[in-house]
């Protein structure tokens, strides 16, 4: 283990440099995990502040203006900076291994996508320190968002634009990777479900994010350059923003949930020791959900006044999505049926997910009934709905993935006992927080209000909800303790700790940076399990041992990102002083310069010679 010994001796800064310049999907996955985890904690703190403000009637813990900033930044942070990057963390860590590839299709782009997300996230949060963060809701409806004073909404626009570009790149990268880099024998209908669902989610990113990009550009021009796309007084139309936002926004919620369906499919099948029930139905349902997901955006706008015919069409289209979702629920149940189930931590999350998500789906169908939605809309009922699907689905899934793939990423098992304690506290805390919010909504509590009057039947419900939120916070603290404890005291876990079925468990732990010495031959669904059933311990190689071609590390993506970051400040502040336009030129100069270097300088990567690989094998 000469590499490990060498890495122990390296200085802190050389490790930092290594991670800044890395193009290795495994390290980029770790960076996504760290950055996404950080923003998850930040968004969680904002959530606690919101709940503390609402713990009793007419509370004055925060001001009305600050409350608006809290809810806006909570939503934006959780969706764009926590949930999605954490999903990318696992996509990076796992997908190339699952399909038998040595890296993603575009390692350079992978690094660029990561840094754009990180600096876009920082940009969004700079607003806190310059007189107020974004405060028009995560949906940023115009005209509220275009007339919101200060720079908060400017940071929202530019920050999302930068991090959104990163997301788009990551989506394209995974599409190409999954189409082009599959090992011999890994046909589409043998792809593990996590890969399949991530593939479809990437396609959703490709088609949905441009709508957001366009919307943000229009808003940027309205706010910074005095155009009037959304200003009816000057011939604009403020409803168009809502359309653009939800054309992106509804597919976005499926971007958040589809890869998680994949995670649970892997977890349920692994810990029931059975192949997934109805694999092809699962794939079909995923594609169908993605397709229908584009045709329903207006269900967020039933009360805008689109007319009865439009409302009816979108209501029916929305309800159809429940059908493929139901197919999936039943397939998971049938996978477990008569399996020899092991209740591990990831499996616990899967078991908690099924009923929780089903409740969220049912309230979704209630909301989709357009006439009834006139009552529910903008009330706590909607808040309850989307937290049931996003926490009960996406966050449960991310926690399951954390426990399931932690050994794959870090060569340590998280403590199972602490993991189960985390689950139970989180699960109870979650339902305590959000179940009552359905009823608060039905009793008339509107969303996004910073106070409510006493003795209107809302006091107790809100107190219960806040208590639940603090339980969830405790659970997260236990998880953090678990991670730190494992990092300090944990033993290396070695290869294949869960007795896995898919290819990522065929790669040694820790993985060599080229992943596969010889690309494996895939002989069926659950390839590793197929080999295990034939009495083999490892995969059959599909090629003779030969030189391996790998990409070089590069700092250019980081430099480009810094360039865009600087230019972003220029765009925001040029309205005060023309001289600040210089920032735009400097920033864009750096970014375009880095692109020029990238285009002109050939970077062909390097080869790991066959001899070296043979030497390693003998050790």
């Amino acid at each position: 283990m000469s590499t490990l010994a060498a890495s122990n001796k390296r200085s802190f800064w050389s490790v930092v440099w290594d991670y800044i310049t890395t193009v290795d999907h495994k390290k980029i996955g770790v960076l996504y995990l760290i950055a996404g985890g950080f923003f998850f904690l930040l968004g969680g703190l904002e959530a606690l502040a919101i709940r503390w403000q609402l713990v009793k009637p007419m509370n004055d813990f925060v001001s009305a203006g600050f409350y608006n900033e809290l809810i806006t930044m909570h939503g934006t942070t959780m969706i764009f900076l926590a949930a999605m990057p954490l999903i990318f963390a696992f996509m990076n860590a796992v997908i190339p291994l699952q399909i038998g590839a040595r890296d993603v299709a575009f390692p350079f782009l992978n690094s660029l996508g990561l840094w754009l997300f990180v600096f876009g996230g920082i940009m969004l949060n700079v607003g806190w320190f310059t007189g107020g963060a974004a405060d028009a809701g995560w949906t940023a409806y115009t005209p509220l968002s275009t007339i919101s004073p200060g720079e908060g909404m400017d940071y929202y626009v530019i920050g999302l634009q930068i991090s959104g570009a990163g997301t788009l790149m990551a989506g394209i990268n995974f599409l190409v990777t999954i189409i082009n880099m599959r090992a011999p024998g890994m046909t589409y209908m043998r792809l593990p479900l996590f890969t399949w669902t991530s593939f479809v989610a990437s396609a959703l990113i490709l088609f949905a994010f441009p709508a957001l990009t366009v919307g943000l550009f229009l808003m940027m021009f309205d706010r910074m350059f005095d155009s009037a796309f959304f200003d009816p007084a000057m011939g604009g139309n403020s409803i168009i923003w809502q359309h653009l936002f939800w054309i992106f926004g509804h597919p976005e919620v499926y971007i958040l949930i589809l890869p998680i369906f994949g995670v649970f499919s892997e977890v349920v099948s692994t810990f029931s020791r059975k192949r997934l029930f109805g694999y092809s139905a699962m794939v079909f349902a995923t594609v169908l959900i993605a397709f229908l997901g584009f045709m329903v955006w207006a269900h967020h706008m039933f009360t805008v006044g689109m007319g009865a015919a439009a409302n009816a069409i979108f209501a029916v289209a929305t309800m159809t999505i429940a059908v493929p979702t139901g197919i999936k629920i039943f397939n998971w149940l049938f996978t477990m049926w008569r399996g020899s189930i092991q209740i591990t931590t990831p499996m616990l999350y899967a078991l908690g997910f099924i009923p929780t998500f089903t409740i969220g789906g049912m309230t979704g169908v209630m909301l989709a009934a357009a006439t009834a939605d006139y009552q529910y809309h903008d009330s706590y009922f909607v808040i309850a709905h989307f937290h049931y699907v996003i926490i009960g689905g996406t966050v449960f899934g991310l926690l399951a993935a954390t426990h399931y793939w932690w050994p794959r990423m870090f060569n340590r098992m998280l403590d199972e006992r602490l993991g189960k304690i985390t689950f139970w506290i989180f699960f109870v805390g979650f339902h305590l927080t959000f179940m009552i919010q359905h009823f608060l909504g039905l009793w008339g509590m509107p969303r996004r209000y910073w106070v409510y009057l006493p003795d209107q039947g809302l006091d107790l419900g809100n107190a219960i909800s806040t208590a639940g939120a603090f339980l969830m916070a405790i659970a997260v603290l236990i998880l953090l303790y678990n991670i730190i404890k494992t990092a300090i005291k944990g033993e290396p876990c070695g290869d294949d700790p869960w007795d896995g079925r898919t290819l990522e468990w065929a790669v040694p732990i820790p993985a060599p940076h080229y992943n596969f010495k010889q690309v494996p031959l895939v002989r069926g669904l659950d390839p590793l399990w197929v080999e295990k059933m034939d009495g083999r311990k490892e995969m059959t190689p599909s090629e003779p041992l030969d030189d391996i071609h790998m990409p070089n590390n590069t700092v250019l993506p980081f430099v480009m990102t810094i360039g865009f970051f600087i230019a972003g400040f220029g765009f925001i502040y040029q309205k005060y002083d023309n001289a600040l336009n210089a920032l735009i030129f400097v920033g864009m100069g750096i970014a375009l310069g880095a692109m020029l270097v990238r285009s002109l300088k050939d970077d062909l990567g390097y080869h790991i010679p066959k001899k070296e690989l043979e030497k390693e094998a003998r050790k």
Binding site: A203, L206, F207, A211, H243, I247, F294, M295, W297, A310
Partner: protein
Amino acid sequence: MEERATFNEEFIKEKRRQDMRHQVLTFSMLIIFTLISFGMVMSDLNAMFVRMVIILFAVVQVGFQLYYFMHMNEKGHGMPSLLFYGGCFAGFLTVLGLVVLTWW
């Protein structure tokens, strides 16, 4: 063995030559289309007619671009085509819905 290798080489060479011919042909077509478009704009033809023809040319040019220059006419491009046409379809429906909802 020897013979087969040369045959193979011949085949590849011939195929390259053909590819090249296609590329040059489509490239000149693109230029001709563009010239015609400019010419029509400068002429006194009916404006609506000119617009329609230009849009038609644009679609054909995109097709040439994708199929000849970006090699979608070759084998193994099933998934990209599926994504491409699926995207066009979803995009079409979305834009249609948006336009109808906003201006009707």
